[in-house]
């Protein structure tokens, strides 16, 4: 009636219809978003409820029962851990959700456990056949699921599927590749490093750090296979194996490590120089000094960094001559070594005949003194 009244009053019909439509649309959007948020909230609450339930179940299984018979009794009430065919009331999707949450809780618990606690967790993962679901994920076509599957199997120390994981070492998707390499190390320690012989993709700096960090927490057995890795066509494999040689103090590889000083790649040269910091003998210092004049700035800086740790009085005359270098960064590097080997005043006396660099060198020495005070 109101509408008719307005129309009768010669207002524009289209405008009214448009306004009404607009109000309806806004209301519809409001109700849809309200109900969606309600649904999301409900779903989150449901997941939280399952999570709490699984937390309690896990704690009961590990600490209350912790024997096959008592665990069977506890598990009898949970449909998600019974075979599907025996009149299981739980749907396939719900069953998967319950099991996934159980695995998530196990991974969370593993972070705080060690020794027998972790061993019990592995046994439980096996007993509940959760590895079957992890394996399903590993064989999925979605790379995110593959990553999850690989992580679950390796975190739970499940070695049976290692071949499938090993096949992912050269997976085109980087995340899968990274997870597979980490998993192989997690499962087999230094022995797992044999994947370096077959890896074709570049191992990123971050990945190398991750693998070294993982290995640093494992047994200190020396890896085998440096011969293959040093001959690899993949430069990142050589760099990583040089880092390994440094980490495991592979003194017997000193000659091979020095050989990389003559490699065309700067990255390899630099890594071999850093590797000499831990694997050096009486010839290393002289070798670096002899090679110093013919290399570029980044390699020189690496050499100076290592010389700072290993140099003796033998380097002093050579380093004084290099102080005329126009690159301030290099001059700083040289002065840091000289400051360690002789007094600041000695350095100033030695450059008395170089008035154009004297002032800057005095400033640098002051700076180095401050650095020394801060860091020591």
């Amino acid at each position: 009636m109101l509408l008719l009244f307005i129309i009768e009053n010669n207002l524009q019909t289209e405008l009214i219809i448009f306004t009404l439509l607009f109000i309806c649309t806004v209301c519809a959007i409001f109700f849809i978003s309200y109900f969606s948020s309600l649904l999301i909230q409900r779903r989150e609450n449901e997941i939280q409820k399952i999570r709490d339930e699984k937390e309690s179940l896990l704690v009961r299984l590990l600490f209350e029962g912790n024997s096959n018979e008592s665990n069977d009794e506890i598990l009898a009430d949970y449909d998600e851990f019974r075979p599907l065919e025996k009149g299981n009331r739980l749907g396939k999707k719900k069953r998967m959700l319950h099991r996934q949450i159980m695995v998530d809780e196990m991974l969370e618990m593993k972070k705080n456990l060690s020794g027998a606690g972790v061993e019990d967790l592995y046994k439980l993962y096996n007993k509940l056949s959760l590895h079957e679901y992890s394996y399903q994920k590993l064989t999925s076509k979605k790379y995110q699921l593959m990553v999850m599957g690989i992580r679950e199997l390796s975190e739970m120390n499940f070695k049976i599927y290692y071949r499938s994981i090993y096949r992912c070492i050269n997976h085109p998707q980087e995340d899968v590749r990274i997870e597979a390499q980490v998993a192989i190390i997690r499962l087999f320690g230094v022995k797992g490093l044999r994947f370096l012989s077959i890896v074709t993709y570049t191992i990123s700096e971050w990945q190398q750090m991750t693998l070294l960090h993982l290995l640093s927490h494992m047994k200190k057995d020396k890896p085998r296979g440096f011969e293959n890795w040093f001959n690899s066509k993949n430069d990142s494999v050589i760099i990583f194996s040089l880092r390994l040689a440094e980490m495991y103090n592979c003194f017997e590889l000193s000659d091979r490590i020095r050989y990389f000083l003559y490699h065309p790649s700067d990255a390899l040269k630099i890594q071999s120089i850093f590797c000499m910091r831990n694997n050096y003998d009486e010839n290393t210092e002289l070798l670096l000094l002899a090679y110093y004049p013919i290399v570029n700035k980044p390699v020189k800086l690496a050499m100076l960094d290592v010389l700072k740790s290993i140099s003796t009085g033998l380097s002093i005359p050579f380093l004084y001559k290099q102080l005329i270098d126009t690159e301030l960064e290099i001059r700083f590097g040289i002065l840091r070594i000289l400051y360690r080997l002789c007094e600041g005043t000695e350095i100033i006396d030695a450059i008395e005949n170089e008035p154009e660099i004297k002032d800057s060198i005095i400033l640098m020495i002051d700076q180095i003194k401050i650095e020394e005070q801060i860091y020591n």
Binding site: V59, F63, K110, N112, S114, G117
Partner: protein, 120 residues
């Protein structure tokens, strides 16, 4: 024997409670430092305290300080923390804790350490 556990991670709290209950102790749970201090102020000292360091409101070290300095109690205290650095360990021992366990921890080992301290 009553043991107060102050731990903000629910899963670890449940795990510790279940383990110690199975060993025959009565467990009081505190989800943060404030709840632990509230319990100590109202109920007095239990027979033992196991506490994390990093917790909301009050840290585990503040809980230890309260027990040793304000309540003047000598009850055994175990710190269970992911912080394994020398400074944290020495700070805890300076305040008078009896034992320091770093996470990840072995529940059986914790159980033995609790038993040893309670017997002593």
């Amino acid at each position: 024997m009553k043991i107060l556990i102050a731990e903000d991670e629910p899963l670890t709290l449940k795990m510790l409670s279940m383990k110690l209950q199975k060993d025959g102790y009565a467990v009081i749970q505190a989800e943060d430092g404030r709840k632990a201090l509230e319990y100590l102020e109202t109920e007095g000292c239990p027979d033992m305290v196991i506490t994390d360091i990093m917790m909301p409101f009050f840290s585990g070290l503040e809980v230890v300080e309260k027990i040793r300095k304000d309540l003047l109690s000598n009850i055994p205290i175990i710190v269970l923390s992911a912080m394994g650095q020398e400074e944290s360990v020495s700070a805890a021992f300076t305040l008078g804790v009896n034992d320091y366990i770093t996470k990840p921890f072995n529940p059986n080992e914790l159980s033995l350490r609790v038993k040893r301290l309670i017997v002593v």
